[in-house]
Amino acid sequence: MSWQVPYIVNTFLINMTQIREICSADSLLKINNLHVHFVLENAVVRAVDEVSMEVHENETVALIGESGSGKSILGMTILRLLPENVRVDGKMLFNGFNLLDLAEDELRRIRGKEIAWIPQNPATSLNPVLKVGIQIAEPMEVHLKIDRKSAMQRVVNLLKFFDISPAEKRINEYPHQYSGGMKQRALVAMGTSTKPKLVIADEPTKGVDVSKKIRVAEIFRKIKEKLSILIITHDLSFAEKLADRIAVMYCGQIVEICSAEQFFGEPMHPYSKALLDSLPSRGLKPIKGSSPSMVNPPKGCRFHPRCKNATSRCLKEPPLFELNGNAVRCWLYA
């Protein structure tokens, strides 16, 4: 199905009842065989290809991968924030609803209310001419239908919770009066103000120093008990501290999904191993070759031109193999 399919009430209702039964009780978001393709004049960019993954209730999943691996596009597809000309196929079940079937006004009730998005760049994501308090109050006014005054009261409590003090004064300040770390925390406050079930955070530690990264990690640890989080990041140490499970993306595909302990202890996929070996604390070994193109991805396994363990069977595309709850896309585990 694609974006253009008109919304029909009947299909939606049928989907709702059918799908509720199908999906397992504790999975909040279930992505099934998702494809996101950008169709250009003379090429097709396969930004997300054959992706299936789940986010359970109260679980934190980190989606890691290099820039250009399609992880942000995957996040934006969940909220359908992509332009109209994108071709999307597959299923994304959130709480039993297929997000791809919903009409724009249905979606608007989910965005910000059920699923919140914490954008990548705090410096440019806040409106520079509006007071921060008003911006944080806005989703509550829209979704919870409360008036400005009581919304502002809640904003004060939120700012206190996220350590922005003095909260009463800070709500009347503009974004330029906030430091970078405070802007990041204000965005998290905004995202979590409506008590969503799922928060998608896009690179929350990009361009943040070590000491400030800890504060970002701290606030995510504060909120992770109560809701599900999908963290899109290439910061491995941040993912290690927060995530319950790790999903590794390479060239539009998920190549490994496993628990965080397994990933940092004994990663399975050769790409995961190579990625960890390139950390400064683990030897700074670069991965040979360069990231493949998404227009003409390598035939077969997409990592095989750069892989140490590549053999002739890697010319055939490996499926995602299931191995005691973990999944890996590599022939080594066939």
Partner: protein, 302 residues
């Protein structure tokens, strides 16, 4: 080889009521031949300003910079131009450092053309050599910056920096915007070039693990001052601030340092407000003392 002696830099803004920001506050630093000195610190601690002061890209408010025992601060612009060839900068954002309307070839060739080091015919040869050295292909030369990935851009910037055969390069967070695997490749390239060309680096970074992996010596900067300098700092940090930074590596301890800029105004030890070991003695400015071959600016080690 390169030495900065009690460098100060004060930025002033405003016409009537001057706002003063002390970016660098009495720093003495030395980078030896073929050495990598890592300068670590948080954003706003003044490490980039210090790097620029050493290259004389900005003039210090007071203090001196020596390069091979030549006093750069008192040199005439014309003489200094010649020395500038020997000192280069690899900036943090390669995409901003290259002219978006120039092909990569022209950007790499520009320093050669300005200093008129090679003729038109040799130029091509020299540039192909440089490009090979930094691991780019010849086809990249005819592209524009927006057609290259972050890692490739950084390689192009490195090629331009080594074009004039420098001896000293300031690397200002060259990998902070790159992915881990690309970061590893760029750092390996820098180390290889150092070996081949006999370069000295001042490597500015906020990533302690990167600093530890590549540097011979490390200097820790806080609020415009160097608070600790020496080897193997990560194994045994002495200054309370360094200790806190090292502990923050495993991300379990919350750092309560908000904005280092405000602390620059503080008399006495700049770290006083956040230090767990503070005493009344810390209200007086601490001196740099030597402890086991390391320099520390803290009253604890008097």
């Amino acid at each position: 080889m390169l030495r900065g002696v009690s460098l100060h830099k004060v930025f002033e803004s405003g016409l009537i009521s001057k706002r003063r920001i002390i970016a660098v506050d009495g720093v003495s630093i030395e980078v030896k031949e073929r050495e990598t000195l890592a300068l670590v610190g948080e954003s706003g601690s003044g490490k980039s300003t210090l790097g620029r002061l050493l290259l004389m890209l900005i003039k210090p408010t007071s203090g001196k910079v020596f390069f091979d025992n030549l006093n750069l601060t008192e040199m005439k612009t014309k003489e200094f131009r010649k020395i500038r060839q020997k000192m280069q900068l690899i900036p943090q954002h390669p995409e901003d450092a290259l002219d978006p309307r120039w092909k990569i070839y022209d950007s790499i060739a520009e320093p050669l053309r300005i200093h008129k080091l090679v003729g038109k015919n040799e130029e091509k040869e020299v540039i192909y050599g440089l490009v090979e050295m930094v691991g780019l292909q010849e086809e990249h030369l005819s592209r524009y910056p927006h057609e290259l990935s972050g890692g490739e851009l950084q390689r192009a910037v490195i090629a331009r920096a080594i074009a004039l055969n420098p001896k000293f390069i300031v690397c200002d967070e060259p990998t902070s915007m790159l992915d881990v695997s690309v970061q590893a490749a760029i750092i390996n390239l820098l180390m290889e070039l150092q070996h081949k060309l006999g370069l000295s680096y001042l490597f500015i970074t906020h990533d302690l693990e990167v600093a530890n992996a590549i540097a011979n010596r490390m200097a820790v900067m806080y609020a415009g001052q160097i608070v600790e300098e020496g080897t193997k700092i990560l194994d045994e940090p002495l200054h309370p601030y360094t200790r806190m930074l090292v502990e923050s590596l495993n991300m379990n301890v919350g750092l309560k340092v908000e904005d280092t800029r405000q602390n620059a105004e503080q008399t006495g030890c700049k770290f006083y407000n956040f230090c767990s070991d503070r005493t009344n003695g810390c209200l007086k400015p601490p001196e740099m003392v030597r402890v086991n071959g390391r320099k520390v600016k803290c009253h604890l080690y008097y």
